[in-house]
Symmetry: C2
Subunit: 295 residues, 2 copies
Amino acid sequence: MRLVSFASPAGRRPAAVVGTPGDERLLDLADAIGVDDVESLLADDQALAAARSSVAAADVSRLPRLAEATLLAPVVPGKIVCLGYNYRGHVPDGVDPRASDPEFPDVFVKTPNTLGGPSDAVAVPHAAEDVDYEGEIAIVIGRRAKEVPVESALDHVAGYTILNDVSDRAWQRRQSQWALGKCFDGFAPLGPWVVTADEIADPHDLLVEVERDGVVTVSQSTATTIFSVPFIVSYLSQTMTLQPGDVISTGTPQKLPHALAAHRPLAPGDSVTVRVGGIGELTTRFVAPTQGVPA
Amino acid sequence: MRLVSFASPAGRRPAAVVGTPGDERLLDLADAIGVDDVESLLADDQALAAARSSVAAADVSRLPRLAEATLLAPVVPGKIVCLGYNYRGHVPDGVDPRASDPEFPDVFVKTPNTLGGPSDAVAVPHAAEDVDYEGEIAIVIGRRAKEVPVESALDHVAGYTILNDVSDRAWQRRQSQWALGKCFDGFAPLGPWVVTADEIADPHDLLVEVERDGVVTVSQSTATTIFSVPFIVSYLSQTMTLQPGDVISTGTPQKLPHALAAHRPLAPGDSVTVRVGGIGELTTRFVAPTQGVPA
């Protein structure tokens, strides 16, 4: 299933995307099976089974069109945890690709004010100096995970979505810790949906691509990641209890050489699309700063 | 006022501490003025005025005793943001104490699973290798702050409390980012109360002390901090919108030389008290690990 959250006059509601490519519709899961939100659905195997039955039985032609809905971030995560470096770069023939792998993931946190939905633009902040994108596949937690072994870690993964780890490089590098460069308002566009884990045959065999203003700037398979999804979930769960709806973004591949050479900060008017095979694509527009609210 | 949250059969409730030293009582502010929690109270000047009136008019002898209540973290912050280095060490005579000050604060984030209350023990995790304490004064945000100037930043500070930035040094140093060493469950004991800003004449003239197992290991005034409270609030608000109840922990002073020399990791059975002049003290016990919850 592809699960979304959409805006309604009554607030955020969960839905499944049904129908055919080009004519996708929304099955409201609050109406259909009485769940409150996607986070609680993801933690509940019985509710997921009921949702699948409702999807199978839906009279699609009577449902509202996806294209007319305002999508929100598919989940509201209690935590957004990110890996800083998880892809191998180009490795010359004859060199062990694992030779310079780090022993442990480098992990940081994005605060809740960073969360954005697939319909939201990112306001380039007044204080921004060098805004950049990072297109990433993100793990969405289903069942609570505390100190889980690698062998059963996938039991706690409900699905996958896309996160653009928007970062101001200048603020990120002002000090040793990257937090301020990562935590501007709206710097974590997420979505457009959670694809449930049963639909992803192998999360380590997906192509991650980024397109900026019509040019492909990143194109690399998750086969080149250093840390696997089960390892990441198990490792993090040794420290923090992972809760339903928590998001773990798995790091960005390097930019292609022409994109590295042509880097310029994102500015109002720019647009970035992150595309992940088997999941979909997330397009984010960048717009002028919003004003601070006076005291 | 000193504002607390306490556990009741109906859930978390806000209260003011009233009475005299040794006979302190709780005035339930949900009953008295109809506020839901300390976070919303802190953002509302009218409610704060009503709370002060209720405190002044309270029939103290009829109120329940503070000592019999179970205190929770005084606020549930949407964000816990921390400074990594904010105190000057010992400076020899004739040396400019500001000579080696960093230009910008080094900032990191503690995730929501770290929050603990003054009655909570910290379970030393199974994976822990080198658990340490950091006793800090923490700013509590009142009115929402987005891109506020230094000159009016204090208008957004509702009060102050104490945070013990519990950290596993081994995990903190595994990679460049400290997050995993900082984000174990329960690693942010907070409290016991928020002292409203009107009662703190100068937050840059408070003694911060830590006592471990009866020995004073830290004793330094906030006069030796590098970044002031208004600067910190203004600076952070250029990146992230600060919301009512958000907590900014202002960094730890260095340990005293004898404590540095005698460092050993915190273990079950240990106890740490953080004491801040004008605020109070927060004592945290360290206990054996809890078991992971099976899938």
